[in-house]
């Protein structure tokens, strides 16, 4: 049954160094408060999986030295420019990048969701991605003739970590049309969620809300974190804190600046809501 934890710190403590952690992109609900807890705790060697890409949280975790491998179709903070700590870590060889492509991430998670060892996928052949991914195979379509197709191994995260608007007291989490979060939860061994609010209700009782709900069955633990996605935004609830993110990008151009950012907003303080 879903554990209701009283602090985000308790939730983040369930992620060990070395864990394979699936995270959403910046527009799909990121558990930033939990990410800051991970940095404070100094976890190491995470295998971060961007579903299908990763943004601000990846850049911060990489900059803070928490990440050993990032597996993603992209690392980007979008309109704010290149992800500075990611770019620096790549140049320094400080992080292993498993470059992927969006549908390959989704397909790998779907393979895990279905409990199958691999998923075939069209396209990709001839991309240098294939050349550099020794965990991918090119096989013959058993229903075709001279018809090569990429076989992608299942992606089975240890943890899916994200932030959502509403959960109920049973542990059901409403995600609306952000069904990549449901796919993450199905595929992952454990799913940890921070939410804006926990309602005294049953989201599955009404089919109108059930249609956009991850059942508690897949939700390992929950913690309430109001404004928990800040400084990035959360769907229609609140926008990103533009000024804060621009300042981050500016500071994180250098290692020193990034350290100053961490000191101010992670280690000594908190991001303003």
């Amino acid at each position: 049954m879903t554990r209701h934890l009283s602090t985000v710190r308790d939730l983040a403590s369930m992620i060990d160094s070395g864990a394979r952690v699936a995270v959403p992109p910046d527009y799909s609900g990121c558990a930033m408060a939990a990410v800051r807890e991970l940095i404070r705790r100094g976890v190491r060697d995470l295998h971060l999986i961007g579903v299908p890409q990763a943004g601000f949280q990846a850049d911060m975790l990489i900059g803070a030295g928490c990440v050993g491998t990032v597996e993603s179709a992209a690392v980007t903070i979008g309109e704010y420019g290149p992800a500075p700590r990611f770019v620096a870590a790549v140049k320094a060889g400080a992080v292993r990048v498993l470059d992927s492509t969006c549908p390959a991430i989704h397909a790998g998670l779907q393979a895990a969701e279905k409990g199958i060892p691999f998923m075939p996928l069209r396209g990709i052949l001839g991309s240098d991605l294939v050349a550099h991914r020794d965990d991918w195979r090119v096989i013959d379509n058993p229903f075709g003739e001279d018809d090569p197709i990429v076989a992608l191994p299942a992606i089975r995260p240890d943890v899916a970590l994200f932030h959502a608007g509403v959960a109920d007291r049973f542990g059901n989490v409403w995600i609306g049309v952000r069904r990549e979060l449901m796919l993450m939860a199905h595929a992952a061994a454990a799913t940890l969620v921070t939410v804006e609010e926990i309602v005294d209700d049953d989201l599955l009782a009404d089919e109108r809300t059930a249609a956009g709900t991850i059942p508690a069955l897949y939700v390992t633990a929950l913690a309430k974190a109001p404004m928990g996605a800040r400084p990035i935004g959360l769907g229609e609830r609140y926008p990103a804190d533009d000024g804060h993110l621009r300042r981050y990008v500016e500071l994180a151009r250098t290692e020193e600046g990034f350290r100053r950012y961490l000191d101010e907003f992670v280690l000594a303080g908190e991001v303003p809501a």
């Binding site: 527009y27 799909s28 579903v51 299908p52 890409q53 993603s72 179709a73 992209a74 690392v75 980007t76 979008g78 309109e79 290149p82 992800a83 990611f86 770019v87 790549v90 140049k91 060889g93 292993r96 990048v97 470059d99 992927s100 492509t101 969006c102 549908p103 390959a104 989704h106 397909a107 779907q110 996928l121 069209r122 396209g123 990709i124 052949l125 001839g126 991309s127 240098d128 991605l129 550099h132 001279d146 018809d147 090569p148 197709i149 049309v177 952000r178 069904r179 990549e180 979060l181 449901m182 796919l183 229609e236």
Partner: protein, 246 residues
């Protein structure tokens, strides 16, 4: 020189490539392709659907992040747009980095969905406003997605054209290379040659890219600007804002 912006010409020329299509999808961070798709939709008399990633109002997907890709594989998307930190003469695009992978000298965000959509969407329009020898290279340092494939590779899709701030190249699939199609007003063939470091075909006569007409500008600065502003408010204000006459 008529009263339009460079972006408006690019939007118009891309929109012309979308005429008659049923469903055009636009990826993230693509205001000019997005505006082009919305313009083509305005002209389609209700016949075209446009899906703009990142939009709430112009996005019809309800099955999560995978749906765009599944939808493309189902053959339900007729056109899409890709860019590239590097684009080469065989239509290969590089969204990963410059220099020796994996420790790229310049690292781009990553390949996103390009390695897939480039294969599956019939009409992929490459768009990069900057046009110089560092971007348009003889051979990309990393192939995020190849422009052409061997005959036995399942590939209903691929490059249709490359639109830059200087000109339009059409992709010649049998010849596996670009052919210069039109040059934008104010630019020259010599300039295009100088700024392009891949080889391309040059037909005997090269037309000038037609300027957007008054009707187009009215659509652009009216309903297109309005629809685009939801997803790209800054771009819409900058490009269309000052010229809007209402």
């Amino acid at each position: 020189m008529s009263d339009y912006r460079a972006e408006e010409l690019l939007i118009d020329v891309i929109a012309a490539m979308l005429e008659g299509l049923g469903h055009v999808a636009v990826g993230a961070s693509s205001p000019i392709p997005g505006a082009a798709a919305l313009l083509a939709r305005e002209r389609s008399d209700g016949g075209m659907r446009v899906s703009v990633l990142g939009s709430r109002r112009h996005n019809f997907f309800t099955d999560g992040g995978r749906e765009l890709f599944d939808c493309a594989a189902q053959g339900r998307i007729d056109a899409f747009f890709l860019g590239g930190g590097q684009i080469d003469g065989q239509g290969n695009i590089n969204l990963v980095g410059i220099g020796d992978y994996p420790r790229s000298k310049v690292r781009f965000p990553g390949s996103f969905g390009s390695a897939y959509l480039y294969f599956l969407i019939p009409r992929v329009i490459l768009f990069r406003q900057e046009h110089n020898r560092k971007i348009l290279v003889p051979k990309v340092d990393f192939i995020s997605a190849p422009g052409v494939s061997d005959a036995n590779v399942y590939r209903p899709g691929g490059p249709h054209a490359l639109v830059t701030g200087r000109c339009v190249f059409r992709f010649d699939k049998p010849r596996r290379r670009f052919a210069l199609a039109t040059i934008h007003p104010g630019h020259t063939i010599e300039e295009v040659r100088d700024e392009t470091s891949f080889d391309f075909d040059t037909p005997d006569s090269i037309a000038t890219t037609p300027a957007p007409d008054a009707e187009t500008l009215t659509l652009l600065r009216g309903p297109v600007a309005e629809a685009l502003a939801e997803t790209y408010p800054d771009f819409a204000a900058r490009v269309f804002g000052e010229l809007v006459t209402r």
